[in-house]
C-alpha cells in the first residue's frame, strides 16, 4: 500500500468506520438534517439535541464509504457540548485540514483526515456529515448536499 493510501485510511478512521460512535436516531433530538452526496449516493442524517445554543447531544445515521462514515462518527464526538459558533469554527478548521492537509496544532483527532487532501474526489465524503450538522444547527429544512440540486 502506498503512503498516500495509508495516510487516507488511518487507524483512527478505520476504527470509527468499524465501530461508529453515536450512531442511530437520537430520541431526544429537537433538530435533524439530511445530507446527500448525489454523485455517489452517500447519505447522512444528523440528529441534534440543542439546549439553547449548545449541542447537548448528537448522533448520526446513514450509509457511505469509510471516509464519510468515520468522519460523521468522529464529528459527533467533537461537537458534543459545543455551541453553534464553536461548531462552525471547528468545521472551518476541519475543512482546511481536508483541503490542504495541514492541521493546526490544537486539533488532534480531526487531523486523521489530513490524508484526504491528496484525494480531492473524497473531500465531499469527509465533509458530508459536517454539512448536515451545520444545516441542523441552522434549522434548514432543505437537505444538505455536496453538490447543487436541480429538479
Amino acid at each position: 500500500m502506498s503512503a498516500d493510501l495509508t495516510e487516507l485510511y488511518q487507524q483512527v478512521i478505520l476504527d470509527h468506520n468499524r465501530r461508529p460512535r453515536n450512531r442511530g436516531r437520537l430520541p431526544t433530538a429537537n433538530r435533524v438534517a439530511h445530507g446527500d452526496n448525489p454523485s455517489c449516493g452517500d447519505q447522512c442524517d444528523v440528529y441534534l439535541q440543542l439546549d439553547g445554543d449548545r449541542i447537548k447531544d448528537i448522533s448520526f445515521d446513514g450509509s457511505g464509504c469509510a471516509i464519510s462514515q468515520a468522519s460523521a462518527s468522529l464529528m459527533t464526538t467533537q461537537l458534543k457540548g459545543k455551541t453553534a459558533a464553536e461548531a462552525e469554527a471547528l468545521y472551518r478548521k476541519f475543512h482546511e485540514i481536508v483541503t490542504t492537509g495541514k492541521a493546526p496544532e490544537e486539533i488532534s483527532d480531526l487531523a486523521a483526515f489530513a490524508g484526504v487532501h491528496t484525494f480531492p474526489a473524497r473531500i465531499k465524503c469527509a465533509t458530508l456529515g459536517w454539512h448536515a450538522a451545520l444545516n441542523a444547527l441552522k434549522g434548514d429544512a432543505a437537505p444538505a448536499t455536496t453538490e447543487s440540486h436541480t429538479d
Binding site: M1, S2, S39, C40, C65, I67, R122
Partner: protein, 409 residues
C-alpha cells in the same frame, strides 16, 4: 475461453502505468477507449477536410458533407436501418431519448395515457419520461425486476398485465448498465406493438457489444452513444422509423433544418435534417463511422461472446469472495458485473483498486430507484470490452482480496 485476438495494440491509451501499475481499464460501460483508427480519423478530418456541411459549394465543404453523410449511411448499415434518413445524429443517448420525450411526447401524450418503463432504467431513460408524464398528465408505470439481487430480469408476466391499451409508449433498456441483464428486445417490442404502443430502446450498453438489427427487433426508436462503442464523445444517434420521424415536430429549430423562412414563420425539411438544427458534430459523426468499421472488422457476434465470457468468468471468480453480493443474472449477461460487500463501501473498493492501476466504477450508476429497491446505495462495477483479457480479472480479484483483508483485518 476461446481464442480472441489481442487488440490492445490498437488502443494507445492502454499502454500506460497508473499508480506505478499497468493500467487495467474495467470501466468501458461508462465510456470505451478509442482505437487508433478513430483517433486518426478525427485528426485527418480537422487537418484536411474541416468545413461546414450542407451549405457550401467549395471542395472542402463537399468533402466534409460527403464524409458526414457517409457516416450516417455507415451507422444505418451498422444497425440495419432501412434508410440512412432514419439515423439522426445527436449528442448521445440522453439527448436522443429527450428528443422523443419532448417531440413525440408533446404531440401524443394526454391525461389518462400510460408511459411504461422498467425498474432497471438508467436515469437517462427514466427522468425524461417522468418529465413528459408530468407535463402531459400521463401516468408513468414500471415493469418490475424480479429477485432480491435482480437476478430474475424483467417480470414478463407483469408486463402482460401492464401493457393495456392505455399504454402509448414503452421505454426499456436493451442491456442494463447496472445488472448486465440482456432484455429480450424483439419480444418486448412485439408485445408492445400488440397494444399499439410506440417502443423506445436505450441501446447504450448493447450497441457496440453485440449485433443489432433495428428491423429484426421491430422498435420504433432506438438511442445510443458513440463513446460507448469506441467512437468519440459528443456524438450519438437517435434511430426512428421514417414514418414517425417525418411527423416529429422539431424540438430545436434554427439553421440547417428549414426549407424556407420569412419574418412570420418557417417550414421544416424532412428527417434527418429537420431534427438536426445547427452545425452538427461533423468530426464526431465521422469518427463514429470509423468505430463502426472497427467493430465490424472484429465481428460483433464474436465481441458479444468475448464480453459475455469475461463477465461470466468474473462473476464466477468474484462469487468466491466472502460476503459478496452479485447483482443480475447468473447465466447469460452483458459484459459487466456489479457487486457489493456489506462491510466495505464501493468507493473504498474503487479507491483501493485505483491504487493497483485498476479502473472500476463505484456508485449508484445512475440507477437510484433500482438501488433503493435492492436495499443498496451503491455497488462496484467492472465492465469489459474488446481490449480486456482474462488475466485482468485475476488482477481484479487479487486487488479485491487485498482490500477486504485491509478492512476486515
Amino acid at each position: 475461453m476461446p481464442a480472441w485476438p489481442d487488440v490492445r495494440a490498437d488502443f494507445p491509451i492502454l499502454h500506460q502505468q497508473v499508480n506505478g501499475k499497468p493500467l487495467v481499464y474495467l470501466d468501458s460501460a461508462a465510456t470505451a477507449q478509442k482505437p487508433r483508427a478513430v483517433i486518426d480519423a478525427l485528426v485527418r478530418y480537422y487537418e484536411r477536410d474541416n468545413s461546414n456541411v450542407h451549405r457550401g459549394l467549395h471542395a472542402l465543404s463537399m468533402r466534409a458533407t460527403d464524409a458526414y453523410e457517409g457516416a450516417r449511411a455507415r451507422v444505418a448499415k451498422f444497425i440495419h436501418a432501412a434508410d440512412p434518413a432514419e439515423v439522426i445524429f445527436t449528442r448521445g443517448t440522453t439527448e436522443s431519448i429527450n428528443v422523443v420525450a419532448h417531440s413525440w411526447g408533446r404531440a401524443h401524450l394526454k391525461p389518462g395515457d400510460v408511459v411504461l418503463a422498467t425498474e432497471m432504467e438508467h436515469h437517462s431513460n427514466l427522468v425524461p419520461w417522468q418529465q413528459a408524464a408530468k407535463a402531459s398528465g400521463a401516468t408513468l408505470r414500471y415493469v418490475p425486476v424480479l429477485g432480491v439481487n435482480a437476478e430474475g430480469g424483467l417480470d414478463l408476466a407483469a408486463l402482460d398485465r401492464l401493457l393495456t391499451p392505455q399504454v402509448k409508449l414503452f421505454a426499456f433498456t436493451h442491456i442494463s448498465n447496472t445488472l448486465g441483464t440482456v432484455n429480450p428486445a424483439a419480444e418486448l417490442c412485439r408485445r408492445a406493438r400488440a397494444v399499439g404502443a410506440v417502443t423506445v430502446i436505450d441501446a447504450a450498453q448493447s450497441i457496440g457489444h453485440a449485433p443489432l438489427d433495428v428491423q429484426a427487433i421491430g422498435c420504433d426508436f432506438l438511442a445510443f452513444s458513440g463513446h460507448k462503442m469506441c467512437g468519440p464523445t459528443g456524438i450519438g444517434v437517435l434511430y426512428g422509423r421514417r414514418a414517425l420521424l417525418d411527423k416529429l415536430a422539431p424540438d430545436e429549430t434554427g439553421g440547417g433544418m428549414v426549407v424556407s423562412v420569412d419574418y412570420e414563420g418557417a417550414t421544416w425539411k424532412p428527417a434527418p435534417e429537420r431534427l438536426e438544427a445547427g452545425t452538427p458534430d461533423i468530426a464526431g459523426a465521422i469518427g463514429l463511422g470509423v468505430a463502426c468499421d472497427y467493430l465490424d472488422a472484429l465481428d460483433r457476434a464474436a465481441i458479444r461472446r468475448h464480453d459475455g465470457d469475461l463477465a461470466r468468468l468474473a462473476y464466477d471468480q468474484l462469487s468466491k469472495l466472502p460476503g459478496i453480493r452479485l447483482l443480475g443474472p447468473a447465466g447469460v449477461r452483458g459484459g459487466l458485473v456489479s457487486f457489493a460487500f456489506p462491510d466495505v463501501h464501493a468507493h473504498d473498493v474503487v479507491t483501493f483498486a485505483d491504487e493497483d492501476g485498476i479502473a472500476l466504477r463505484g456508485g449508484h450508476h445512475c440507477n437510484q430507484p433500482l438501488m433503493r429497491k435492492l436495499g443498496l446505495t451503491s455497488t462496484t462495477r467492472a465492465s469489459f470490452y474488446v481490449y480486456n483479457q482474462p488475466g485482468e480479472i485475476d488482477a481484479l480479484v487479487a486487488s479485491l482480496q487485498r482490500t477486504l483483508k485491509f478492512f476486515r483485518g
